[in-house]
Assembly symmetry: C2
Homo-oligomer: 191 residues x 2
């Protein structure tokens, strides 16, 4: 059972360790996991238990979930105003501001909602995977959030944070157009 089913955990640990300029013995001291074990993990010879992996991550100043979702792509990507990916209809238009890269950890989009329009309906299924969280910032107009049976009114400049995997949608209760940024933070399914 040395087949590493979490691809790249070992190489990720090694990259982080090198980045912090730690030797295996340094990290062994910080994490309480032996240097030979760290070496085996980095080379993919063994798969550590959750308990041990948590200690390794702590030695790297990370939680285990952080360690597992680190992304090595690391380049700077600019999405110019003219390059935004858009969509929508029925009074609801949106544009995505983050690049369509794998491992993208927070997706940012800008939405425009006409007066009386809504992003969805009360019986819509949740559109985000389990564990996703959303922050929405109202930049223009007024907005009403329906989330899990509750209603929240938001004015210009207000922000709301909630679990995006709950049934939810926004509507514009005002007389004019509403605009808002939506930030959805979810770990994408690693492929």
């Amino acid at each position: 059972m040395a087949v590493a089913e979490a691809p790249g955990v070992g190489t990720r640990i090694k990259a982080l360790r090198d980045g912090l300029d730690l030797s295996l013995r340094d990290l062994a001291e910080r994490s309480g996991v032996s240097a030979p074990m760290l070496s085996q993990v980095e080379r993919g010879e063994t798969s550590p238990t959750i308990a041990v992996a948590t200690r390794i991550a702590a030695g790297l100043d990370l939680s285990l979930s952080q360690l597992l979702r680190l992304d090595e792509s690391g380049s700077v990507t600019v999405v110019h105003a003219s390059e935004r990916r858009g969509g929508g209809g029925g009074g609801h238009a949106y544009e995505v501001l983050t690049p369509p890269l794998p491992g993208q950890r927070a997706e940012v989009s800008e939405h425009t909602l006409a007066a009386g329009a809504a992003t969805g309906g009360p019986d819509d299924p949740p559109m985000h995977e389990p564990g996703a969280r959303e922050t929405t910032v109202v930049t223009h107009g007024n907005l009403r959030l329906h989330c899990d049976g509750e209603v929240h009114d938001l004015a210009e400049g207000d922000a709301v944070t909630f679990d995006a995997d709950l049934p939810h949608h926004f509507e514009n209760p005002g007389r004019g157009e509403a605009r808002f940024f939506a930030v959805v933070a979810a770990g994408l399914r690693r492929s």
Copy 2:
């Protein structure tokens, strides 16, 4: 070494399995991990290896990082425009739009940069923990990003995504004030 150092993984697996109305044998079939092992993990008797835990998570239709960071709190939190936490100086002002809650996965803030001002200098150390990623959306004016030895110019409506743990800062090269939203996605240290 059966001490569960990732608190609640077993109870979380059991909660999810019950929520999906699966028996141990059902999940064993879906995950390829034996029912007795699943039982031991749920009761905290053993700590599974990363490889096994990944298979358990897959049987629950989750990635391992999702499983590890599932959060049962799920409340809606509103930060009104008047409640923003602010700071800054030297031509750089900012306000945080996300609540100071543990487990917050993406922090959203709005920044104002006077003409010629900067968020930092070329020799500043990285201000974010390893693994953090940032998306910045220019809502007014022009902005210049210095990141890891490279320079990127951004106009109004542009967005940039990069590793926030690299040395970086923004400056306003224009004649007028610049405003932007910054989204920093990093899992906070679980406490």
